[in-house]
Symmetry: C2
Subunit: 293 residues, 2 copies
């Protein structure tokens, strides 16, 4: 079972992943982190009670929604209780004492390497080498005590493995943000997790709720579904269709609206949506995450 | 300038990428392919007239929309003239004469490795090693004449580099499809490209059109925008909101509907949408792509 005095949080990736930063933004620095190799392992860890919560990446401004995690949200039925946004800042990281001029190789995940093309073009002497994970590449530098190489990863990764940042923020595009959900097991909480949630809920000003639904296959079906919100002046902050494979012209919709699912107007809107939807699930209501820096 | 007798098609990735398969599905086997390192290079190649067309991945059933390519569609203003879906089939590929028992290392892009976890778990003797590109890992095996390693990539990659497939379809999830757009320069076409487009257009039964628009920041704005289609019985096949960074509560919407943009009813719907949208662009009308195998 999860510890009672410190909150344990699962995330996908190595220690120092951007997901760890999301977990800190949501629950503070005093947390125990449990890295997982795959997304489903992280959901499994929460469902089994091995950890208190998980930080789940759900969409990125450049790469879109992480459909796999929507699938897990539906399958595991773990409520969303928080939201945060992390700006993806890539740093050039090396072991202490290693200077920029010493770097012959740069290791990172291919996606991160591709997001730092301007820096890499300006340093043709540094050979780029792919690695399975951004934070994992810093871990490798530390384990192998490399003095001829650098990694591209988050500042949390540098801190985790006793490395230092040679160049801050070398990403090409600063408009690169990932939105994370905080999930936990349903029901009553205990200990540190209960205290943290009460504090987060009490300080919340704006709320958001996330739904998944399917509509019948007919023109205007989505239009009717959305009337449940529009006619009640409830603002949507996300709508996305996802084709159901093997079922041509049937779609799953992800919808977020501004409101708390147990407010009266939200309850009525959700009931109204239920009349037109074939399937409807409220994934959670949570304090709206801060705009990231 | 692009050749007149054979169509030249740009795509992102090495020869043998899934994008090359998309290009073949759209334009046949007799095409000249022009691999590009980045998505923007592929758009630039079309815009400058260096190639006739490009195959652009726009969404994946597991990973969602490729927002970066929507950005390039808006920036380069190159019309979408075709659509196709490619099932992402991962194969274990080695050089001729290399058997399964010889394999000590498996190379591929981390995303592909992560989509073949069941196979990898059943073969712990094969060490997984990340590579910048799926097809690129087959190219490397061929160049280095490796007899101790395999790659995970498409069947087109095996064919391209004279390699053979040791195990077909080792991916965990068969519901993994990528949707591609075919783009070209606006205006009148010549030669092979003109003939191919005429043939594709004449055999088209169903049409789709893709739009991008923004709405004013008010509850119900999207609802009103969608009435332009719902009230005319035009079916939507995609709707997706994307927050505009730095402009809280302003969204860009991607919308696909079933219809040809120059049909009368479509023209009226688009004009109606234009009344409620702050910004509206028709990205293209194209024959609906076949359901993939």
């Amino acid at each position: 079972m999860a510890t009672k005095n410190r909150i344990s949080v699962a995330f996908q990736g190595e220690r120092g992943a951007f997901s760890q930063q999301a977990a800190r933004q949501l629950l503070g620095e005093e947390i125990d982190v449990v890295p997982c190799q795959r997304f489903d392992e992280m959901f499994q860890a929460v469902a089994s009670g091995r950890v208190d919560a998980a930080a789940v990446p759900i969409e990125n401004t450049l790469h879109g929604s992480v459909h796999e995690n929507y699938d897990h949200l539906l399958h595991f039925e773990l409520p969303i209780v928080g939201e945060t946004n992390v700006r993806i800042v890539h740093n050039l990281i090396a072991m202490p004492g290693v200077a920029l001029k010493d770097i012959k190789k740069i290791y990172s995940h291919p996606v991160a390497l591709n997001q730092c093309l301007k820096f890499l073009a300006a340093h043709p002497e540094m050979e780029r080498t792919t690695f399975y994970d951004t934070a994992g590449s810093v871990k490798m530098l530390a384990e192998e005590k490399r003095n001829d190489a650098a990694a591209i990863a988050s500042s949390v990764a540098a801190e985790n493995y006793g490395a230092h940042i040679l160049r801050k923020s070398i990403e090409d595009d600063r408009q690169n943000f990932t939105r994370f959900f905080l999930i936990r097991r349903p029901g009553k909480l205990k200990g540190a997790m209960a205290a943290a949630e009460t504090a987060r809920m009490e300080s919340a000003k704006d709320w958001k709720s996330s739904l998944v639904f399917t509509t019948r296959n007919s023109p205007g079906a989505l239009f009717r579904a959305m009337s449940a919100f529009a006619l009640r002046d409830l603002s949507l902050s996300k709508i996305e269709s996802r084709p159901l494979r093997g079922k041509p012209w049937e779609y799953l919709f992800y919808l977020d609206f501004l409101g708390k699912a147990d407010d009266e107007v939200s309850q009525r809107a959700i009931a109204h949506l239920g009349e037109t939807a074939d399937f409807l699930r409220v994934l959670g209501s949570y304090p709206k995450g801060a705009q990231s820096k």
